[in-house]
């Protein structure tokens, strides 16, 4: 291939990397907060699902009603739905002290089922897939060659990388709330004895996490696709669970993990078109395989939060 083709290929891969990584960044940072508080929220897949659906349904209806800010309204509604799912997870795992694996999987099943059922209710069985005009892409580098093309991205992508990640890092490590979250996830007895309200802190971390996961889901329906389909999340929530362990519960490392997944994903899309004699499912599986591999290598001896999976009860 000559140079121009290579360049186009590279630009395409880089731009797609950022795009694919965006929902993973939102959701895995949400999961980082939840797990740092000591709760493994396996409801992430269902929360992303519900976020994608609620965001899309609200946006579609608002758009039909002629409301100009329909996408933002959809995003807000998705966040609210994410918070509700997180509160349900909190009720089960924090207040009632139910096994977190079971309650998380229950929340995921509920989220997916609610979305599919809701989609039927709202949109019926039309032969045309309903859609909205999604968020547009823009580049902060304007029409510059190469960088302008790589950074032609959605606003939610910019927010994820430029605002969410640094703010999430700062709040976790430099704010009193973040200290409470880390303490509550590490040693809730200590936090309690120091006067921190363990339950409130865990609920707050869950709620923030739920909202971020839902944004991750809504990014797919409101920005990338402008539509909702049953295959929309496709296991991205589970990828985030792995990314968070890979990242050792650090927002910045989780972002790097998301970029790695995004890069492999973008690469395999293009590899499919190069005409290797392999079934396309093999390529599709590639990013997931890389995730498993990365987890197996970097996740060994991962320093799990001390109170991971443990409900807190005063003796």
């Amino acid at each position: 291939m000559d140079q121009a083709v290579w360049l186009t290929f590279l630009v395409g891969v880089l731009a797609a990397t950022l795009r694919v990584a965006t929902p993973l960044v939102w959701a895995s940072i949400g999961e980082v907060y939840t797990e740092r508080a000591g709760i493994l929220n396996l409801g992430i897949e269902g929360t992303m699902f519900l976020g994608a659906f609620v965001g899309f349904a609200v946006a579609a209806r608002a758009s039909d009603a002629g409301f100009g800010g329909y996408l933002w309204l959809g995003l807000l509604a998705a966040m609210a739905a994410g918070v509700l799912m997180a509160l349900l997870m909190g009720l089960l795992s924090v207040t009632l002290g139910v096994n977190q694996h079971v309650s998380g999987l229950g929340v995921t099943l509920l989220g997916i089922a609610l979305s599919l059922f809701g989609f039927r209710l709202v949109f019926g069985e039309s032969s045309v897939l309903p859609s909205v005009e999604p968020f547009g892409q823009f580049s902060i580098f304007g029409d510059l060659p190469i960088v302008g093309q790589v950074f032609k991205q959605y606003l939610l992508t910019y927010i994820a990388f430029l605002i969410l990640v640094p703010v999430a890092w700062w709040v976790l490590y430099r704010s009193s709330f973040g200290l409470n979250v880390r303490a509550v996830g590490e040693n809730p007895e200590a936090a309690d004895a120091a006067g921190v309200d363990v339950y409130r802190t865990r609920y707050a971390a869950l709620a923030i996490g739920g909202a971020l996961m839902a944004v991750g889901g809504a990014f797919l329906s409101l920005a990338q696709l402008g539509a909702f389909s049953p295959g929309i999340i496709a296991g991205r929530g589970w990828v985030c669970i792995a990314l968070v362990i890979f990242a050792r519960w650090d927002p910045v490392r989780a972002t790097l993990g998301a970029l790695l997944f995004g890069a492999v994903f973008a690469l395999q899309l293009r590899l499919q078109t190069l005409g290797f004699d392999l079934p396309f499912e093999a390529f599709l599986a590639l990013p997931y395989l890389v995730t498993i591999l990365a987890l197996a290598i970097a996740g060994r001896n991962a320093p799990y939060p001390g109170a991971y999976l443990k409900p807190y009860r005063r003796e």
């Binding site: 430099r174 704010s175 009193s176 709330f177 973040g178 200290l179 409470n180 880390r182 303490a183 590490e186 040693n187 007895e189 200590a190 936090a191 309690d192 004895a193 120091a194 006067g195 921190v196 001896n301 320093p303 001390g306 005063r314 003796e315």
Partner: protein, 501 residues
């Protein structure tokens, strides 16, 4: 009110606390004067910790009232207690290990959303200096020794302007030197105006550091005495409710033959880090070899290696003439090793009966026609229950037994086989005085019989009382082997890793 100046730091009146049918505190009165170091003395289960957890807001009393500096208060949570100037250092330190000292100290005591870590570090360092507590504010708690962690806990309380400090068994995890440092620090803080509640069951420490003593037994106050006007034996009598005799150690029974030999044993802990480094020990027949050391210096791993539940990465273990290096528990037992593990709840099956647990290690001996012989299991249990004075029936679920009776079941199971070698870890931890004496007496009987006993204990008094020789372990290395009439200072130095010169 002018007279409130002189009112006591803390007054607790008629405090009653029930846990289900158990009365942990029965109308307890407790008064802590200002600038006083006051011991709460009692056996395990006497209600000392419960009373202080009520004061600190971790439990709520069913009845009674609390006054702080003369003012009636209701304490709902530790936050309320902290606001009233009360700090508590619990037995299991309330610290988050991956966080820094500063983060642990300011946790729950921050203003506004921003932590402002650089400022906080300065304030913590300043407070540490003011109270004479040596600790690096930037160190991570997980890198600190147990003694240093305790200092962080005390600093945490003082940083919150506590003028009442509750210490729950603070010396249990310290070397003698660290105990002395702690006491010096407490006296200095007392001079600065601090009042201290010192929860303990160690009489000599109570005599050493406190001004007054409140003795609890079975959830009730037995007496309140000024320390200067009492003696250890009087306190012991109040605490136990009868005179204590201790155990008498017969003359040495040691023979020349070595029944347990460890040669350069190495092993790793659960994190894969070296926990035992070339440990070599010989235990003779008729000898108790005590293994002294601060908690977490490889004692647990050593016990597990000898019990057959942890592999060695190097070295050899010879017991009773058999090489049991990396042998499983069955081979270890077959070689004649009896095992009293550290956690008795892990050495029994909690939901099974006393009789079943007694037969468990040698089920093959209770088989008839390929089926378990229930009658023999039961008769076996009845015989042991009688011989070892266990307060239980064969069909009782073992979980429902007291610690002392559970330990007797394990003891009976092991000792009935007259093991040539005994590996005993923390045999009296959490037991009351009566059960403790019983267990120690039994160990001494085994020594007279000619067993080689390795006694692993974090209770230094126990080691000194029972051992014929004492090996000291520090960070997985044997620092030296000394006689039990060793100078306690010297022993303390070995326990803190200073080599024998």
């Amino acid at each position: 009110m002018s007279f409130s100046i002189a009112s006591p730091a803390v007054e607790m009146r008629h405090i009653t606390k029930r846990f289900g049918p158990v009365i942990a505190n029965d109308s307890v009165d407790f008064t802590l004067e200002r600038q006083e170091i006051h011991a709460l003395l009692g056996e395990n289960g006497a209600g000392k910790t419960t009373l202080m957890r009520i004061l600190y807001g971790l439990y709520h009393a069913d009845d009674g009232e609390i006054r702080i500096k003369g003012e009636p208060v209701t304490i709902h949570s530790p936050k309320d207690a902290i606001a009233r100037g009360i700090g508590m250092v619990t037995q299991h330190f309330a610290l988050a290990a991956p966080l820094s000292v500063t983060e642990n100290v300011i946790l729950g005591y921050t203003e506004g959303f921003r932590l402002g870590l650089p400022d906080a570090r300065l304030r913590v360092a300043e407070a540490a200096q003011r109270f004479g507590i040596l600790v690096d504010p930037e160190a991570l708690v997980k890198d600190l020794s147990v003694g240093q962690r305790q200092r962080v806990e005390i600093l945490k309380a003082l940083y919150r302007n506590a003028d009442v400090l509750i210490l729950d068994e603070p010396t249990a995890v310290l070397t003698p030197q660290e105990v002395e440092q702690l006491f010096e620090g407490l006296r200095r803080l007392q001079a600065q105006g601090l009042s201290v509640v010192f929860i303990s069951h160690k009489l000599h420490e109570v005599m050493d550091i406190t001004d007054r003593v409140t003795v609890l037994r079975g959830g009730r106050v037995v007496g309140v005495v000024p320390t200067a006007h009492t003696t250890q034996s009087e306190l012991a009598r109040m605490m136990v409710g009868r005179p204590t005799y201790g155990v008498s150690k017969p003359d040495a029974a040691r023979r020349e033959d070595v029944l347990l030999r460890l040669e350069n044993v190495c092993a790793e802990d659960n994190q894969g880090l070296p926990a035992l480094k070339n440990v070599s020990l010989n235990v003779h027949a008729g000898e108790i070899l005590g293994l002294a050391g601060v908690s977490g210096n490889g004692q647990r791993e050593l016990a597990q290696v000898l019990e057959g539940v942890r592999s060695c990465t190097g070295g050899r273990v010879i017991a009773n003439g058999h090489d049991i290096t990396n042998a499983g528990p069955d081979k270890v037992m077959a070689a004649g090793v009896g095992r009293i593990p550290e956690d008795r709840h892990e050495s029994v099956v909690a939901e099974m009966t006393v009789a079943q647990n007694m037969a468990l290690e040698h089920l093959d001996e209770f088989v008839r026609n390929g089926m378990l012989d229930k009658r023999r299991i039961r008769e076996h249990a009845e015989a042991l229950i009688e011989a070892y004075q266990i307060k239980a029936r064969p069909d009782d679920i073992i979980r429902t037994l007291s610690g002392g009776n559970m330990q007797k079941v394990i003891l009976a199971r092991v000792l009935e086989r007259n093991p040539a070698v005994l590996v005993v870890a923390q045999p009296t931890r959490g037991l009351d005085v009566g059960a403790t004496e019983y267990v120690r007496q039994k160990l001494l009987e085994q020594r007279q019989r000619g067993a080689a006993i390795l006694l692993i204990s974090e209770d230094l008094d126990e080691i000194l009382e029972l051992s014929d020789r004492i090996a000291v372990i520090y960070e997985g290395e044997i620092m030296g082997v000394v006689s039990p009439d060793v100078d306690i200072e010297h022993l303390g130095l070995l326990m803190s890793g200073v080599h024998q010169t």
